[in-house]
């Protein structure tokens, strides 16, 4: 089990291999379908993004929020973000977290940009909620659960699903 902290050192990422188990700590951003669509439109029109995605880790999740507590926060299906991911990696995102295999275009982008895709365990929402030490809305509050949340996480259990060489836990 490797302990990793965001922001990443590029060397940390190059050392990872598909199948490695990781405990991730630090600040990450959530983003799923609706937020990706908005960010992508801003990138297309050359406008400034509401969060800095250079060096960022994006977690594909729409959490359950109850007052000041996140009660459940497991990953959503990553393939729905495949349309956007290559562009996000190109713009500086270093890691994405979700569940399930990605498209060939995402594999190519991860290998080209020397980035990483982590799998969280789909269905383990309570476990991931307990890893979140604090959170705040970073953008798009109107989207509710689909808003971009800034999460501070501690020892989030993940598996390296696609490493920076294109190695994959899904395509063996």
């Amino acid at each position: 089990m490797k302990k990793l902290t965001v922001p990443f050192d590029r060397r940390d990422i190059l050392d990872l291999r598909a199948g490695d188990r990781v405990l991730l700590s630090g600040v990450i951003y959530t983003g799923r379908d609706a937020a990706h669509k908005r960010l992508d439109l801003l990138i297309s029109s050359g406008e400034r993004l509401p969060i800095d995605i250079v060096g960022a880790t994006i977690y594909y999740v729409g959490p359950c929020v109850m007052g000041d507590k996140i009660t459940s926060a497991g990953p959503t299906t990553s393939s729905r973000m495949d349309k956007y991911a290559p562009r996000f990696y190109d713009k500086g995102v270093l890691a994405t977290i979700g569940k399930g295999d990605r498209s060939d275009e995402v594999y190519a982008s991860i290998a080209k940009n020397k980035c990483v895709y982590f799998a969280a365990i789909g269905g383990a929402g309570a476990t991931y909620a307990n890893c979140i030490k604090s959170f705040e809305v970073a953008a798009y509050a109107d989207l509710g659960t689909e808003a971009i949340y800034k999460l501070t996480v501690e020892d989030m259990p993940l598996i390296v699903a696609i490493d920076s060489f294109g190695g994959s836990i899904y395509r063996r």
Binding site: G62, T76, T77, G100, A126, I159
Partner: protein, 284 residues
Amino acid sequence: MHYNLSMRTINYRQIVDAVAELTGACCGLTCSCKAVLERALDRESNGAARYAIGELLKNAELAERERLPVCQDTGLAIFFVQLGQDVHIEGGSLYAAIDEGVRVGYKSNGCRASVLDPITRVNTTDNTPASVHVELAEGDEMKIEFLAKGFGSENMSRLYMLTPSDGIEGIERAVLDAVSRAGSKPCPPIVVGVGIGGAADSAMTLAKKQLLREVGEHSDDETLRELEISLLQKINALGIGAQGFGGCNTALAVHIGKLPTHIAGLPVAVNIQCNAVRVARTIL
């Protein structure tokens, strides 16, 4: 005017309270789901898959202990109601009562508001409306079954309008195709609901209804039971495995139902349930 004096009255409020309580199923897994996950863990030899199944069991325990939703996708709230024809509902409509129960229950259980307009994508903020199927039944009781259906798995639903010559082999091919195409996306290990026959609409509903069964409970029909067993073996030989990590646990169970169909057709509907089976029922 002739009044049937054997009518039984069920109050709007009783339905609201019952539904709100049923939604508590989001904060745990059914006993049969946990039992099959434990058996899956016992027979799994792939390291990453073992890790994933172990995490799912630990997560269920944590969710039940701390009363947290097991999965953040607390689903579209789906209800199957068997309404006795001697029941009179007083104080409001059945649909309004179910929505009110969902509104109250989802909020108090810390569940997610996942329902929105399909075109504007504006969220209703309280997870309503629920998806409600009502069937009339004999008697003076109302049976309500609740299924919290996440959409990672629901998105993998498929309908195959086969023709009579396709037969049992065609049915098997269709189910294996649906599961293969779903791959790692629906949070395997999955439960595969299959509806054979009827028409396009009733086959899909039948497939979904199979997900209400206790996980691994076989059909009473001998042919369907054999098909469930053979399909489970074939699905688990695909090697997709828990979370798509490989191994022998792509599916926990296959549940098949059938309906009479037309001489020209053989509809086969597949509705996939993720590893988090959240089902509850009550009788009023």
